[in-house]
Amino acid sequence: MDSFPFLSFLIFLPLIGGLFVSLLSSEDENAFYVASFVSFVSFILSVYLVIKFDPLGGYQFQEIYEWSKMMDPQYAVGIDGIALPLIVLTTFLTFLSILLGWGQEIQQRRSYLVAFLVLEGALIGVFSARDLFLFYIFFEMILIPMFLIVGVWGGAQRVYASYKLFLYTFLGSLLMLAAMILIYTQAGQSHLDILGQSDFNPEITIFLWVAFFIAFAVKLPVWPFHTWLPDAHVQAPTAGSVMLAGILLKVGGYGMIRLLLPLFPEASLDLTWLVFGVSIVGVVYTSMVALVQDDMKKLVAYSSVAHMAFVTAGFFTFSTIGIQGGLFQMISHGLISGALFICVGVLYARVGTRSLAAYGGVANKLPFFSAMMMIFVLAATGLPGTAGFVGEVLVLISLFKVSGVLAFLLGTSLFLGAAYALWLYRRVIFGKLGEESEKLSPLNNVEKGVLASLALCVVGLGVWPQPLMNVMAPSIEPVTQSLHAALEKQKDPQLAMIDLAPSEEKVVLAASRTPELTTQEGDAHAG
């Protein structure tokens, strides 16, 4: 591997770029071009990482520097097959988000662009951190630019929204910080490789697990920690929503797979029921709430919560298929919900309202836009052939192994998701052209390009997800192995049903399953 610190370079490039942009004089129109250029170079660089990446090679592009001789936490970065796709997603969506500002009237454009670049750097940092505290620093660092994007460039109620965003996230972060300090005092180490192999005092493990879980559950968000999301989305500018839904939420999922499961496999096994519970309630509840929204952005925001429930449910099946499905769902949701927010933004920029009632017959005026939005809406309903399907079906199939009734309940999103997504589409795109719709001017080339490239990704990943799978799969193995080991240790008959290593299991027909499981199975059909 090259000795050049590519990964650190990628993390700090947007940060330095942001600094540079902030130094430009405020009237300078070049700020946009500089920011676009920086984010484009970041994207190219992340693609270069993909080319250089060896899926079977474990953690790569590792760098370790000491902060100080006195303390143990280090600056340690490195990426594996789980982090890499998220980094590429980050650079890709940031680039698109910045591009979307083209030709738009934005107050304090310079600071706006700086916020996006800092956000990008922090996100890449979170995904590549290999040290507990470095992770925390980047994790907190994300909040500042996001907070500013909502609070400064947001809508009328931006202050309330940003405060809510802050309060939730900060609560989670505080808990996590406390837990991290506890971990550090116990283990005396903070590098994730070492922590993954250490055992914690079982008495505090539950506390640690809960602290981490809440921190990530807020980000993801998991019901009932989700109420900040709709407000933040509604108030955030379009590009902010794209970053928020596209990548920020994924930090929560990433934290679960990177910290929660590997550090506390036993506690995770014990608390599976809790996670399945909130996932399923989340899907049904938020899907129904999405159905009654009049605000387009709120509708999409609530749909995000429902889709993210697949991530938690998939992870906690502890099977390769389920975790793979959850990870894939993160990537696909990043593209799809990002695209949907762009669609809403395109309409909002022209008509000036997000109310469903104000729209109708957009297909008459914007056929290209309508076709693109159709793809994203259908992808959001999990249509096979789009990226939205792959993750969901993998999660459902792996969850069926745990319990048929759980899979069925989670699967209701197939129906409920279609209901709100098609409702949105029908109200906005179909029908007769309303008065408001007269304001609809044709899309500019940037908008067209952004939407088309996202559509290409969504369909491409739906038809040929295998390259992404190949990158992710080997990196999931260590996680399932640690869970498997925990299971061995535990020997809990209740959890014996969970299939941990399907690749090893050559049993063709169902072996004896516990009665509880199969009873639930039956309920599914009765319903």
């Binding site: 505290f133 300090i181 709430v289 999405a290 063709v508 309920d523």
Partner: protein, 640 residues
């Protein structure tokens, strides 16, 4: 052979992409010619496959692996085209009807603005349907399954300015999704039991060892029955069987050629295809098969009764489709899998013919669909009348017409299976046969016989369709005439002589005895009677006589009202409830808002920090990080 298969499946996709991408560069006529060209090639390829398959005597099997779709550990799904006799029968039917609908639409849709969108949807639909029937594993089957669902949604809502069309389109998709959920669960169960999604491989595994039963509510139920039920509910959604049928009549909002292709000949038969494809699984079940029988028999009966009171010509045919699909399910349930597929095949021709014939009527009546305003059309539209008559006779099961052979096969099998299921299903199907004759005669009588009830201006414009519409009608009429006669020996042949060994195909003897002949004779009599009675339509006389039974039928057995009250409204209420009392007055009031409230009361200092001043927050964040570093430096380091 592989080339033909590829051409057959991808021809429609190319046609779709062509219509979707190049509509600006080409004139309407040129575009349609290109689409027709690609479809024509595909149809030729499909027909060649069909000929080769018929000649091969059951030995036909072609597989074209395309690429990996999803592969993780032992989970794998591939894109592949796989054709056995069952697939080829479907490919042939789909392509022929689709091609004829492409031609027919040229004239039928002549006034439309964005015809390219229409042709793109048609092509995409055909492609998805072909992917469905040539799927090697369940995941690709599901791709096609959902793909046709989406195209159906798009085509029902093709006239998107019409509110009723949008409503119908959404209803179709959502009701289908209910079935799809069960299909996904079936898929998951299939994988759970066999560790594979490949249909052939999984089925043989399921046959070689009886899997452990699932325990349903404390009692063990054979796993195959559970799978069978899951797949059945999935199939019921797509094939509009009783309970999940409510979307099909509404789907008539779409253009009539679409109804012919999607909602009569092809897509709605996907459920029949699915169960026939999984026939080895159903053969080993008792409970699931019984359910299939009763679902089919009840659908055939219920839809037949509702068809009796419909006044919209398309809705009569739609309910008739529903009813005929019920016959197919009945056939599947009693084990006559090949008989059901045979009925699917002949039904595809004569029902497409009826729909396209109705389309010709509607077209010439300036989009009037109400039969009460028709009448006497046989005079200006002799050709159309002849075609419709052929279609009707085939539907009624007039001897020597195609429906006669296929329906007979199902009835005979149902009769033969009385030991297992009793005579109930058979009796219901006989009643349905009479109902079929009645509503078909009524439809034909009201539309073509008697005096014209159209107003003068409209009457003057009534005309025979042109060549582009007549040609498809003629070909379909030919199919409706001869497909039964030519096909029954092959299709109903037992063993592996025609169908190969992938699906179960028992020998269904075709003999004409009193049991077979009596219903046919009764049916024909009822048909003629209805034809004569309904040539005159008197609104008042009937309105007065409306009784309980008729109200029940006019309201379509109250299914829609029931679902509205049972599902649609409660979901809406729950959504409002969760939103207002869950999120706003629940979580928020206790959580973030409640916290601030407390903070305001508690301390002025704290309140100041919640006023939204950004620097305060950032300072807090920075302090947090600093605190962390300090702790590590002076606390953690020592402790570690």
């Amino acid at each position: 052979m592989k080339l033909f298969l590829k051409l057959a499946v991808f021809g429609p996709l190319i046609s779709c992409l062509f219509a979707g991408l190049f509509h600006r560069q080409l004139s309407k006529t040129a575009l349609i010619r290109f689409c027709g060209f690609f479809m024509g090639i595909a149809t030729l390829a499909g027909s060649t496959l069909f000929m080769k398959m018929v000649k091969s005597g059951g030995a036909f099997a072609v597989t074209v692996p395309l690429m990996t779709w999803i592969e993780i550990g032992d989970f794998s799904a591939t894109w592949a085209l796989s054709a056995d006799p069952l697939s080829v029968v479907m490919i042939f039917l789909v392509l022929v009807v689709s091609f004829l609908v492409h031609l027919y639409s040229y004239e039928y849709m002549e006034g439309e603005e964005d015809l390219s969108r229409y042709y793109a949807y048609l092509g995409l639909f055909t492609f998805a349907m072909l992917m469905l029937v040539s799927a090697q594993d369940l995941l690709q089957l599901f791709f096609g399954w959902e793909g046709v669902g989406v195209c159906s949604y798009l085509l029902i809502g093709y006239w998107y300015e019409k509110e009723s069309a949008n409503q119908a389109a959404m209803k179709a998709f959502l009701v289908n999704r209910v079935g799809d959920l069960f299909l996904v669960m079936g898929m998951a169960g299939f994988f759970y039991l066999t560790q594979t999604l490949e249909i052939g491989k999984g089925l043989s595994l399921l046959q070689s060892a009886v899997p452990e039963p699932f325990v349903v509510l404390g009692t063990p139920v054979p796993a195959l029955d559970v799978l069978g039920i899951l797949f059945l509910i999935g199939a019921m959604g797509k094939s509009a069987q009783l309970g999940l049928h409510t979307w099909l009549p509404d789907a008539m909002e779409g253009p009539t050629p679409v109804s012919a292709l999607i909602h009569a000949a092809t897509m709605v038969t996907a459920g029949v295809y699915l169960i026939a494809r999984l026939s080895p699984l159903y053969l080993d079940t008792t409970f699931a098969s019984t359910c299939v029988v009763w679902v089919g028999a009840l659908t055939a009966f219920a839809a037949g009764t509702i068809a009796l009171v419909q006044n919209d010509i398309k809705k009569v045919i739609a309910y008739s489709t529903c009813s005929q699909l019920g016959y197919m399910f009945l056939g599947l349930g009693v084990g006559a899998y090949n008989g059901a597929v045979f009925h699917l095949f002949t039904h595809g021709f004569f029902k497409a013919l009826l729909f396209l014939g109705a389309g010709a009527v509607i077209h010439s009546m300036s989009n009037e669909q109400d039969m009460r305003k028709m009448g006497g059309l046989y005079r200006p539209m002799k050709m159309t009348f002849a075609f419709m008559l052929i279609g009707s006779l085939a539907l009624v099961g007039f001897p020597l017409f195609s429906g006669f052979y296929s329906k007979e096969a199902i009835l005979a099998s149902a009769f033969a299976a009385q030991d297992q299921y009793g005579l109930g299903p058979w009796v219901l199907s006989i009643i349905s046969l009479v109902l079929t004759a009645a509503y078909t005669g009524r439809m034909l009588g009201m539309t073509f016989l008697g005096r014209s009830r159209a107003d003068e201006a409209l009457r003057a414009r009534i005309h025979e369709p042109g060549l582009m519409m007549n040609f498809p009608l003629a070909l379909l009429a030919l199919g409706a005439l001869v497909s039964g006669m030519l096909g029954y020996k092959k299709f109903l042949m037992g063993g592996k002589g025609f169908w190969g060994d992938k699906i179960v195909a028992p020998l269904i003897p075709h003999h004409v005895g009193i049991v077979e002949l009596a219903p046919t004779v009764v049916g024909i009599c009822v048909f003629v009677l209805a034809l004569v009675v309904f040539r005159k339509w008197k609104e008042k006389k009937l309105a007065k006589s409306i009784g309980f039974m008729e109200r029940f039928l006019v309201n379509k057995w109250y299914f829609d009202a029931l679902y509205q009250a049972l599902f649609v409204k409660p979901v809406w209420w729950l959504g409002q409830l969760f939103w207002v009392f869950g999120d706003q007055k629940g979580i928020d009031a206790i959580g973030p808002d409640g916290l601030t409230h407390k903070a305001v009361e508690g301390s002025l200092k704290l309140r100041r920090s919640y006023t939204g001043l950004l620097p305060t927050y950032i300072a807090a964040l920075v302090m947090g990080v600093l605190l962390l570093i300090v702790l590590i430096l002076f606390g953690g380091g020592r402790l570690g």
